[in-house]
Amino acid sequence: MSNETVSDASETPPFLFAPRRRQILQGRNGLIASAASSVAIVFAIVAILVWAPGGATFRSTFFNPHYLWLALKGDPHQAVYSVLGGIVTNIWMFLLCEVLVLIFGLLIAWTRISTSPLLLPFRLLAAAYTDIMRGIPFLLVILMVGYGLPQLNLPLVSNLSLASYGCIALTMTYSAYVAEVYRAGLHSVPHGQILAARSLGLTQYATMRRVVLPQAVRTVIPPLLNDFISLQKDTALVSVIGAVETVRAAQIGVDTYFNESAYTMSAILFLVMTIPMTRFTDHLIAKDREKRLAGER
């Protein structure tokens, strides 16, 4: 062996110190550094709101305590709806839609990955459906459903409340997205699992139900929750067909008092709903990542 490629350890020990500028951020110094940078950022944001040329106007139109409170409780005498009462509509809309989306999304995904020759037309239909519904802006879907279905004059579907049309539109669009999430999850289960189940003589249905689905659900939950967060927020778009949910209620308040604080209140209420959900989703993702790094399943 020649010594040309491997340096001789007996000479001088190699230099192993980090550059000085990085030494500063190590250990206790790192804590101080992160505290300092946090304070600076918060200060900068507040400073913009306080010292901007239109800062005072901005604060009095969007953060006026009187109108924030008025928006929250509403005023029946002036026909102003409560933003808080409005959000109840958003909540039941997304709760109902989430359940419907879970069911329809799974049906669409299951149809798309089926192999039975009998289901060919349904497969094509399901593929076309996901392409179309993901391709049309949700705003247009809700306008078409909200103004189109009543015109059909059909029993059952033509005499619903405006919020119900909103739910139909939300379910139609989000089922397409969620179907794709499911499909990715179903495909993420290793093929060997399917071979093993089929080799035991399990039918295609039993293989799906007992082996593939339970494993796919794990991988699917975080992206699914992400879609649900979008769904919660998109209940606000139902306001365009006139359903009085929180955003429509806020709009009425703004138009009555010529003060935008009702929008701020509505935004705060949305955050109260979505932040726990986003935190929970992040928590699940972090836990899954930890597990994977630990070499578990």
Binding site: L195, A196, S199, L200, G201, L202, A206, R210
Partner: protein, 244 residues
């Protein structure tokens, strides 16, 4: 009923233009152990997958107990319930406990009551010394333990024969022994098995018949002594020379 369990007649299997099995004929009798040997890519695994209908063949015939499996009225699920299959990579179900891995087939395919199956499954696990691990998930077990559970999982279906596809190839060398011991045990108790393997000493010990495949062609077939000690073909000699 004759004691012929599985019979392959002039089986041809193609993937596109590539012929993976060319005119392979083979028969397996009750209580018989047949070992398939040959290099990787020689068609051993494909042959096993054709036998349990995971692959459809392009020519020839496969019979189980004298009935052609090419008959369009055949239900592959019923066929597979008679053939236990064990894979190189175990393929245990990670979301089920060891016990439920073993019980899944009898409960969901044979529709037998869980309580009965449970007792049998525990007895099978006791046979491989893992009854104390029944409630754990498969990823807590070593590779050798997982593969033994996989073997027991296929036995729980009370199959007429076992198909084993290089079941020790994915294992740490120190874990190969425990799996081969179990298979030797099964062979002694009269289990009918078709085994694709790279373990020549094992094949010599347990096989009644050894079959050498080379590029999809069945080159040589006979008792272990005939194939290992007095190979008649150059290809067999060359292969055995390389693996020794």
């Amino acid at each position: 009923m004759s004691d012929e369990v599985l019979k392959l007649t002039s089986v041809v299997k193609r993937f596109g233009d590539h012929e993976v099995l060319r005119d392979v004929s083979l028969s397996l009798h009750r209580h018989e152990v047949v070992c398939l040997i040959g290099a990787s890519g020689s068609g051993k695994s494909t042959l096993l997958r054709c036998a349990n209908l995971l692959e459809t063949i392009n020519g020839g015939d496969i019979e189980l107990f004298g009935q052609s499996l090419l008959d369009p009225r055949i239900d592959p699920n019923l066929v597979r319930r008679h053939m236990g299959t064990v894979f190189q990579s175990f393929n245990l179900f990670p979301h089920l406990s060891v016990l439920d891995n073993v019980a899944l087939g009898p409960v969901r395919a044979l529709k037998r009551p869980y309580d009965d199956v449970r007792v049998e499954a525990m007895a099978l696990l006791a046979r491989i010394g893992l009854e104390s691990r029944a409630q754990e998930f498969p990823d807590r077990l070593s590779g050798g333990q997982q593969q033994r559970v996989a073997i027991v999982r296929s036995l729980a279906m009370r199959p007429s024969l076992l198909l084993l596809d290089e079941v020790t190839s994915a294992l740490d060398p120190t874990l190969v022994g425990e799996v081969l011991d179990l298979l030797t045990d099964l062979a002694k108790s009269g289990t009918t098995m078709l085994i694709a393997t790279h373990e020549m000493n094992f094949a010599r010990d347990v096989a009644h018949q050894v079959v050498f495949l080379d590029q999809g062609v069945l080159v040589e077939q006979g008792s272990p002594e005939e194939v290992f000690d007095r190979p008649r073909h150059d290809a067999t000699r060359a292969f055995l020379g390389r693996v020794r």
